[in-house]
């Protein structure tokens, strides 16, 4: 396991990425945008004259706006970081050279993913001072902040894995990039559209709840299920939260988990399935393909593996 994740690809990716001028630029743009959004919102509130001072909803609302924008920005950035990692190696003609080494396909995929996710984590950590502004106004629990970071990272990992899968499936980077963004868009908008459609054609409370489960695949729905209940704006998403909130009918009693927890499970399953598929697609003469051809051979190899060191 140690060799799967502590390998030279990770070190090389860090070195190459941070040597590049694009990385500091991206971090600056990312933070600049989040900061700008926060300032713009606060300025609008002041301008409208709703608050003469710090109202009780300002903190939670800034928190919601920042969290949603962070999730959207990560959804936009992640495919750009991952959808070209494998076919980029193919285009640079370094892919065969990597496969010739003792690195396994699983190790190559995991480390490419880890390198991208580490960069996203860097963006999230770098954004924490912007999020800290929320605590000037109060109204947000630290646990809520933690959950938002968890959902954001889970979403980034899911979209990252989708990007790597597309990068392995398609030979050209442009194609994998476009397909990745389409899939991300389907997650963000398509799941809501399907939920609305299912709600439209189904009657009675229980089918409605079934439709809700579908919407839990949407990271925005997961995010809104974390936000403080009293914050204005949560109501917009209430029809997708399946009554988890106090808005609309209340089916929360029948739900063992909250939407963000369902989202976590969905992301986890999807990540595992896509990673296995990616490793299978990537390995030219790997274990899976040999197993398909001759199961006895793999057993023999497994027996001799410890001696090989």
């Amino acid at each position: 396991m140690k060799s799967l994740v502590l390998n030279p690809i990770l070190a090389k990716e860090f070195r190459s990425r941070m040597r590049n001028w694009k990385s500091p630029l991206m971090i600056s743009l990312y933070l600049g945008l989040l900061g700008l959004i926060t300032l713009a919102y606060y300025w609008m509130q002041q301008k409208r004259g709703f608050y003469s001072g710090f109202g009780p909803d300002v903190g939670p609302q800034i928190f919601i706006i920042l969290s949603v924008f962070q999730l959207l920005l990560l959804s936009f950035v992640t495919p750009a970081l991952t959808a070209g990692v494998i076919n980029g190696e193919r285009e640079r003609q370094t892919f065969d050279l990597l496969l010739c080494t003792r690195l396994s396909s699983a190790s190559i995929v995991l480390n490419k993913l880890l390198a991208s996710i580490s960069y996203i984590l860097l963006l999230v950590i770098a954004s924490l001072p912007v999020f800290a502004i929320v605590y000037f106004f109060g109204g947000v629990l630290l646990s809520d902040m933690g959950r938002v970071i968890l959902v954001s990272m889970a979403t980034a990992i899911t979209f990252g894995v989708i990007g790597i899968f597309c990068s392995t499936l398609f030979k050209r980077t442009q194609v994998s990039m476009v397909v990745s963004y389409v899939v991300v868009l389907l997650f963000l908008v398509g799941t809501m559209a399907v939920t609305v459609f299912l709600q439209g054609i189904q009657t009675g409370p229980y089918p409605r709840v079934t439709a809700m489960y579908f919407s839990y695949a949407n990271p925005l729905v997961a995010l809104f299920s974390i936000f403080p209940n009293q914050a204005a704006g949560v109501g917009i998403m209430s029809s997708f939260l399946g009554g988890y909130r106090t808005y609309g009918y209340n089916a929360a009693v029948s739900q063992a988990l909250s939407p963000w927890q369902y989202n976590f499970i969905f992301d986890g399953v999807l990540i595992i399935v896509l990673l296995l598929l990616t490793v299978f697609l990537l390995d030219p003469v790997g274990r899976f393909k040999r197993l398909r051809k001759n199961p006895a051979v793999v057993e023999t190899e497994a027996e001799s593996a410890p001696a090989e060191g």
Binding site: S3, N7, P8, I9, A11, K12, R15, S16, R19, N20, R92, Q93, T94, D96, L97, L98, L99, C100, T101, R102, L103, S104, P284, V285, G286, K289, R290, N294, V297, E301, E308
Partner: protein
């Protein structure tokens, strides 16, 4: 070192490699020759564990290539017919990355990299970005990359392709040095004259099939059995043909109004006898020469220019 038996690779209906069989001894330099599309790269990729064969087997140092790719990767240094470099890395970082990818402990890497850079005459470029290297230097760096894990067998696909004459000579000298170090090398090239000088063994492949295989001496000798004498005359073509075919009992053919070709397997005394007969008969000879048997000629004799 290498044993290939009935190896085939097909892509749908296209048969890239067709029941190929050959072997390479320890310490040999095996030249893999064939026209474009003959199946050289496909065979090399199978040996480098980058492709699965459709049928057949190959063993390197007794290990089955298809069934134990991890072990094979430790035994083989594969160099494809393109550079494959990370432009944003420095020369030593590039080699360090591949050394680490072959699980070489960090404390050993520094010495290995220094030794390889010295061998490839790239020490002065240690801190340079790979991007800034010349084509010849990049090729030498790629060769160094193949050697980081000290493989017993090197599989080099067109290592001199696209290089200028000086760079080609440099690569050839390095390969000779590697041979002296005891490495077994399989090398494909279109520059056939270089292979004659460098290789101990040859395999000539066409349309996925091996048409000739053996030591360079064997192949040259085999092709010499099909040599000929070319005779150019100023006139009296019919008399010359009569002397050769009737008086000497050979079978020359007329190529054009001035040129005769005589299939000939004899020695120099017999050549002298034919020449003497023609001179004594007063045939106005311009030239009398045995066709040269270089690798180009052998290659042209053995292959038919079939492209799949």
């Amino acid at each position: 070192m290498l044993q290939v038996e009935e190896l085939s690779k097909s892509y749908g209906k296209f048969l890239a490699v067709d029941r190929l069989s050959f072997s390479v001894e320890d310490g040999a330099i095996f030249g893999f020759v064939g026209p474009n599309g003959a199946g050289k790269t496909t065979t090399m990729k199978i040996l480098g564990t980058l492709l699965r064969p459709s049928s057949g087997k190959a063993w390197i140092a007794g290990e089955d290539v298809s069934q134990n790719p991890r072990r094979i990767r430790q035994l083989v240094g594969y160099m494809p017919d393109f550079f494959g470099v990370y432009d944003d890395l420095k020369v030593d970082e590039y080699l360090d990355f591949y050394s680490a990818s072959y699980r070489i402990p960090a404390r050993q890497r520094e010495k290995i990299i220094s030794d390889l850079l010295e061998l490839m005459d790239l020490e002065h470029k240690r801190e340079a970005y790979v991007d800034s290297l010349s084509r010849g230097m990049k090729q030498r760096l790629c060769l160094a990359r193949c050697l980081v894990h000290d493989p017993a067998l090197l599989i080099l696909d067109e290592p001199a392709s696209g290089l200028d004459p000086r760079a080609r000579v440099e690569v050839r000298e390095i390969l000779k040095e590697l041979k002296n170090m005891g490495k077994t090398i399989i090398i494909s090239s279109h520059i056939l004259s270089e292979l004659t000088e460098l290789c101990t063994h040859l395999g000539i492949i066409e349309a996925g099939k091996m048409v000739a295989c053996g030591s360079v001496d064997e192949i040259v000798h085999r092709s010499q059995s099909a040599q000929s004498i070319e005779i150019r005359v100023l006139g009296q073509m019919d008399e010359a043909l009569f002397i050769i075919n009737n008086n000497l009992g050979l079978s020359a053919i007329k190529l054009d109004e001035q040129m005769l070709e005589l299939p000939f397997n004899g020695n120099e005394e017999e050549m002298n006898r034919i020449l003497t007969h023609l001179v004594q008969a007063g045939i106005p000879l311009v030239s009398f020469a045995q066709s040269q048997s270089n690798l180009e000629n052998i290659f042209m004799q053995l292959t038919k220019g079939v492209v799949q």
